[in-house]
Amino acid sequence: MPFKNLKEIIVRQDFFSPGHGLCAGCGAAQIARIVMKIAGKNSIMINATGCLEVSTTTYPWTAWKVPYIHVAFENAAAVASGIRAAYDALIMKKKLDKDVNVVVLAGDGGTADIGLQALSGAFERGDRIVYICYDNEAYMNTGIQRSGATPYDAWTTTSPAGQKTLKKDLMGIAIAHRVKYAATATISYLLDAANKVEKALSISGPSFIHWLQPCTIGWRYDPKLTVKLSRLAVKTGLWPLYEHYDGFNKLTVQVPRRTPVLEYLKLQGRFRHIMDNQEELAKIQSYADELATKFGLGPVTE
């Protein structure tokens, strides 16, 4: 049953503990918390190396109230597959009786770049895992270097003049593997996101969620704006919320009137260098327009 209101999610038990070391206003912490509320006790969490991993598992403490494993940067999907294989084998051989949810949370670097090969393997094998990419659009843990998911024109420490290519289409990559379920999500549309996690958990093969995560340090904004930026990403059309199920795409959050991309960009220091550059701003607007056409979003209204 899909979640119909906020209260149904709030009453769920938390398996993510305060006292973690993520930044004030961190979007990844919000994701981890919501995902674990939905996935629940009988889940195993796998992280790729990244902010979430180092800041939630700083020895001797952990923020995780479920079994958790981190192995390396590029192998989160393979680690998840190994757990799936073990539980399946042990249940088949009647050495265990209780199954688990196998849930990965990996950053954009660990997913779109270094971890893409292992992810492709898991998708192709059809392993029953839920793989969630928390996409903050750069290598934030090492200090804001560009990744394959960095958007056009964004400043990072290794794209000081602005990124000159478009973000990798991770959803397209997942769908090309014929995964049964793939979806985009972001924290500002909480019910939408929670229902997508719930659905992903019910799929009998691999499922993928591409979750946009504003990063206060890397995007250069006031920490209080994390949810607001997540909302603006959707309203501008730069982050269409949709799901792919059984071969079809469906928009899950309608955007009847789009906000101009400038409203989203101007709150972020990483786009400061193009604030007076009409040509570049027009390019990003036209990229949003393309997405709007593709997904059936409404026109821009000032």
Binding site: K41, N42, S43, I44, I46, E53, V54, S55, T56, T57, T58, Y59, P60, T62, W64, K65, V66, P67, Y68, I69, H70, V71, A72, E74, N75, A77, A78, V79, A80, S81, G82, I83, A85, A86, Y87, D88, A89, L90, M92, K93, K95, L96, K98, V100, Q117, A118, S120, G121, E124, R125
Partner: protein
């Protein structure tokens, strides 16, 4: 013990047979010559239902070892196998497996490393894995490979050990050569190396966090812990080998010396070349030459005392390396053996023989030439050169 007829098996097939008898739960591997026929045979066992296991076909060796690691953490008995470039690709995860104390068992069909690409045997792939914290065995026959794999699970899964193990078997030479192999019965294997769920760590009823981050205040202790576990595994390894001897009539020791007590010249080696050296020693002994040899069955943890006991009476020692260690003082095995001598306050003249790279055949005559070289040192009391590249065109 029942009398059993031998099977005619290659090293690879002997290992696959052991894995079936060990009732492994998860196998994850990627094809690479000369290891491939192990996983082909296991695939067949799984397809026929003779082994109830989950065979994960992965897209790389990196994922193979990663999946084995996490499957072991989930309580499954796991197996993987690789060679050469595949083992090098696993390198990163090997350190993590031992530090997280997960009982993964892997067979390495030892093969040279690129470039140039070459599928034949040497120890170029395994020597870069020396410091990964795994227990490392070297075998000399298909029978020994079979026996060591069975022992390996018993040792790796021992709660006092909890470490991953590599069984090294020379590629092509052993992996693909058919020999008579005397198997144990399924029930003997099951009772010698029983599987044990208590090693399970990823359990929702007892949530643990594995493999997180730490500052300098905990790192040193963590690394020391797994290093100490490796050191402390030595007597357990020895005990398991002896118990296996009682069951099967075959036990190998940590080192396997021949004619060392009164030998003036001794060759130290690892792997299948030891068989050729053993034959050469027997031949030279018939001619009255006071030669001996010792083969290391265990490479990590290094069996220092057992080795020293074998070589302490020698007047000259030749140490055989089947891998280069460019720019180092000497080859990997030479460095270990001479360090062992130094720590034992022994100053026996020693030379390093590099042989058999990329599958270059090492013949009895080559071994004889090494002994002849040691004899020159015995006579003159002088070492002309510390390193010899036997068989190299120069």
């Amino acid at each position: 013990m029942q009398k059993v007829e031998p099977f005619l098996l290659s090293g690879n097939l002997a290992i696959a047979y052991a894995i079936k008898q060990l009732n492994v739960d998860v196998v994850s591997a990627y094809p690479i010559t000369p290891q491939t026929t192990i996983i082909e045979k296991i695939s067949e066992y799984v397809a026929k239902g003779e082994l109830k296991a989950n065979f994960m076909l992965v897209e790389s060796e990196h994922s193979a070892i990663s999946a084995c690691l996490s499957a072991a953490a989930s309580g499954a008995r796991v197996f993987t196998s690789s060679s050469s470039q595949g083992l090098l690709l696993m390198h990163e995860i090997l350190f993590i497996t031992s530090a997280l104390r997960l009982p993964v068992v892997m067979v390495v069909a030892n093969r040279s490393v690129s470039a140039p690409i070459n599928i034949w045997n040497d120890h170029g792939d395994i020597m870069p894995q020396r410091d990964t914290g795994w227990i490392q065995f070297f075998v000399e026959s298909a029978q020994e490979a079979y026996d060591k794999v069975i022992q390996a699970y018993r040792i790796a899964e021992d709660k006092r050990v909890r470490l991953p193990i590599m069984v090294n078997m020379d590629g092509i030479v052993l992996s693909h050569t058919y020999e008579p192999v005397y198997p144990l019965s399924d029930s003997e294997v099951a009772s010698f190396s029983p599987w044990n769920l208590s090693l399970k760590r990823l359990d929702p009823d007892n949530p643990l966090t594995i493999g997180g981050f730490c500052y300098p205040d905990y790192y040193f202790e963590t690394r020391y812990q797994s290093s100490k576990a490796l050191e402390d595994s030595l007597p357990i390894i020895s005990k398991v080998d002896k118990e296996f001897g009682k069951l099967s009539g075959r036990s190998y020791g940590l080192v396997s010396p021949l004619k060392c007590d009164d030998a003036d010249a001794i060759l130290v080696s690892i792997g299948s070349i030891s068989t050729t050296i053993r034959a050469t020693v027997k031949k030279l002994r018939e001619k009255g030459k006071k030669v001996g040899m010792v083969s290391l069955k265990l490479f990590r943890p290094f069996p220092l005392n057992e080795l020293i006991k074998s070589i302490k009476n020698a007047k000259a020692i030749g140490i055989i390396d089947r891998a280069l260690s460019p720019g180092a003082v000497a080859g990997p095995l030479f460095t270990d053996v001479t360090s062992a001598l130094y720590l034992s306050k022994m100053s026996i003249p020693a030379v390093n023989f590099f042989v058999g790279l990329g599958g270059r055949d090492v013949k009895v005559e080559d071994i004889e030439s090494m002994f002849a070289n040691l004899k020159k040192i015995l006579k003159s009391g002088k070492i002309e050169k510390h390193s010899y590249y036997v068989g190299l065109r120069e």
